[in-house]
């Protein structure tokens, strides 16, 4: 269509207005997309616990600009669409037909075009539909709400709770690193190398996998003993290293407190029995034929006493022990079991497993024991 022809001239005001509407629609869409992008970037920063800096604004501007261009292309009114919008003003398809017949030389086409031009000329642009849908406005409001919510939500909501196990691991690794340095200073290259391997292995390991870590420690212990046996390392240095490894293992298994309690006990220690569940590398005999430290062992001997119970092995590493009460003598110190029994009672009472009428009697019983 030639810009100077009467058809273009008559349609131009309508087309200009439609272009304006298209730009407004594109702007609304771009603002919506920009708000979502800004909110998402802010939220991502809070989730990752990092300072997003100017990233949200950059992302929002880039997305909004891209969406604006795209939307403008999509919404930009074609000539056909312009004619359709003009017809919607009550022109009864005069504009669309005029456009379809613009190259028709017939007499009726000429009359139709003249009729359409005259009618369009008398029609104002005021009643034209903007094409802005309610949904677009609602979406923009939602995007603004989303952005505001992302801005206002406290970053603390996304902070990960400190895992006590992480702290333990860090302590263990620090302990091992210090030992590695000491070994290097003493010129124990073999032991230092083994320790370094262990540290690297633990650093790469999933921190949920404690048992595997303990297995690695046990393996390092065996390697250290072999090195001492083969004369590649000093036995004193090896023993110190084994002490550190034992300490690390206990820390990982959370046995410090338990050990402290055990230290107060005399005798009545139980060794590991047969058929017990062992962790990788555990339960193997040391070079002197004594069993190596075994964590989590189940009681197996009837007399509750086993070789090496509560005694240090040849390497001087103390074994894990648990108090065992002699069933024959029947002497069970109340002090040792009271807290466990009382806790059990409280839990069952809370769960409703103890009838209400019995609870009073049970409470009186425990109160009596406590005294």
């Amino acid at each position: 269509m030639n810009r100077s022809d009467p058809m273009s001239a008559v349609i131009r005001p309508f087309r200009t207005r439609l272009v304006l509407y298209a730009a407004i629609r594109a702007l609304l869409t771009a603002l919506t997309a920009g708000c979502f992008a800004w909110g998402a970037a802010v939220l991502m920063g809070k989730i990752r616990q990092t300072d997003a800096g100017s990233l949200p604004w950059t992302a929002a501007a880039a997305v909004a600009a891209a969406v604006f261009c795209l939307a403008l292309i999509v919404f930009f009114p074609s000539r056909k669409e312009t004619a359709r919008q003009i017809d919607a003003l009550g022109l009864k398809e005069r504009a669309s037909t005029m456009l379809a017949l613009r190259n028709d030389p017939s007499g009726i086409a000429f009359l139709q075009r003249n009729d359409a031009l005259r009618t369009i000329d008398m029609t104002g642009t005021r009643g034209m539909r903007t094409g802005i849908r309610r949904l677009s406005v609602i979406l923009l409001l939602l995007a603004l709400l989303f952005a505001a919510a992302c801005r206002l939500v406290p970053a603390a909501w996304f902070a990960r709770a400190a895992d006590p196990l992480d702290e333990v691991w860090e302590q263990v690794l620090e302990m091992l690193r210090e030992e590695e340095i000491r070994l290097e200073e003493r010129g124990e290259e073999t032991l230092a190398g083994e320790m370094q391997d262990l540290i690297e292995s633990l650093e790469e390991m999933d921190r949920e996998n404690v048992l595997r870590a303990v297995g690695e420690i046990n393996g390092t212990e065996e390697a250290a003993k072999d090195a001492a046996r083969n004369g590649e390392a000093d036995r004193g240095a090896m023993k110190e290293m084994l002490d550190v490894l034992e300490e690390a293992r206990r820390a990982l298994l959370g046995e410090e407190e338990e050990e402290a309690a055990e230290e107060g006990e005399e005798g009545q220690m139980q060794p590991g029995g047969e058929g017990e569940e062992r962790m990788p590398g555990m339960g193997e005999e040391g070079e002197d034929g004594m069993p190596m430290p075994q964590d989590g062992e189940e009681r197996g001997d009837e007399n509750g006493m086993g070789p090496g119970s509560g005694e240090p092995g040849m390497d001087g590493v103390s074994r894990q022990t648990e108090p065992v009460y002699d069933p024959i003598s029947g002497s069970v110190p109340y002090g040792d079991v009271f807290s466990a029994y009382y806790s059990e009672y409280l839990r069952d009472a809370e769960d409703g497993e103890i009838p209400f009428e019995v609870q009073e009697a049970a409470r009186a019983y425990f109160a009596g024991l406590d005294q």
């Binding site: 009864k92 398809e93 005069r94 669309s96 037909t97 379809a100 017939s106 007499g107 009726i108 009729d115």
Partner: protein, 337 residues
Amino acid sequence: MNNTLEMNDRVAFFSERYAAAREQIARDIVGQEEVIDGTLIALIAGGNVLLEGVPGVGKTRLVRSVGRTLDLLFSRIQFTPDLMPADVTGTNIIEKDEKGNNVQRFVGGPIFSNIILADEINRATPKTQSALLEAMQEHRVTAGGQTWMLMEPFFVLATQNPIEQDGTYALPEAQMDRFMFKLLMTFPSPDELMKIVSITQETEQERAVQVMNGEELLAMRETAKQIPVIDEVLRYAVRLVTATHPESPEAAETTRREIRFGASPRAVQALITGGKILALTEGRYNVSYDDINALALPVLRHRVKLTYEALMQKRTPDDVILALLDELNGRKKTRRA
């Protein structure tokens, strides 16, 4: 330029004659504007019209008035149960020639005319009704092994009474489809009734006078054919008719529920042809969606068959077509025109 001037003259002639014919008919028929317009549009388009209304609303008077407005031959056939096909089409008679020999001669029936008033068409037997079939569609009659062409323009205006169904024969679908429009003549309003009484007190005769002849009518038909229809409007008309077919993928929800059989392709032809004339009568040179919508009821109401469920709910074809238009145009509800 000459082409344009000629077309301009033809359009002006169309508008002038249409307005004149409408004015003359309105002298005899009070109110009923839609029926008058529908009759004239069908007349110009070359279609036939089925008029339905209770007795006394002016069906026969309308047809007689149309006949007077046009300088055309006019026949009236009063359909009765004992009317035979030959009474409509004509028959061969035996007569003596100049030499005294018996010879057969075809004597044309009342159908050999330009405007036929088939009064109370549903009172005749299907056999007699069928005699009109060939004439209505092909504008010719076959009798005694010979085919006779009818005069042009040829226009059948049939009337039927929606009540008093005893002793009547409902028109078969094939014959119904041959009517371009089915127009409903409603009972006049009190004001219109007073006017009717005052007119008929002066004279029982129709007052319309002739304002055009057959040739002019054919010229108007040719003018109307020139009116352009854009593809979108044509597609809309096709979609409207297709949507009346329950088995069609484009069938509307209303259709699937309430229409048993949809309209034939003749419905699209009627919508477009009628739309062109309607546009010209409104001073436009193009067909619009509104033209199609305006003609949907007279074109479709006798072409759709309702389901048993729709009939049980006392739904009329008009109700269903309006619901269909609403559905197609995404409107909530259209008030009945």
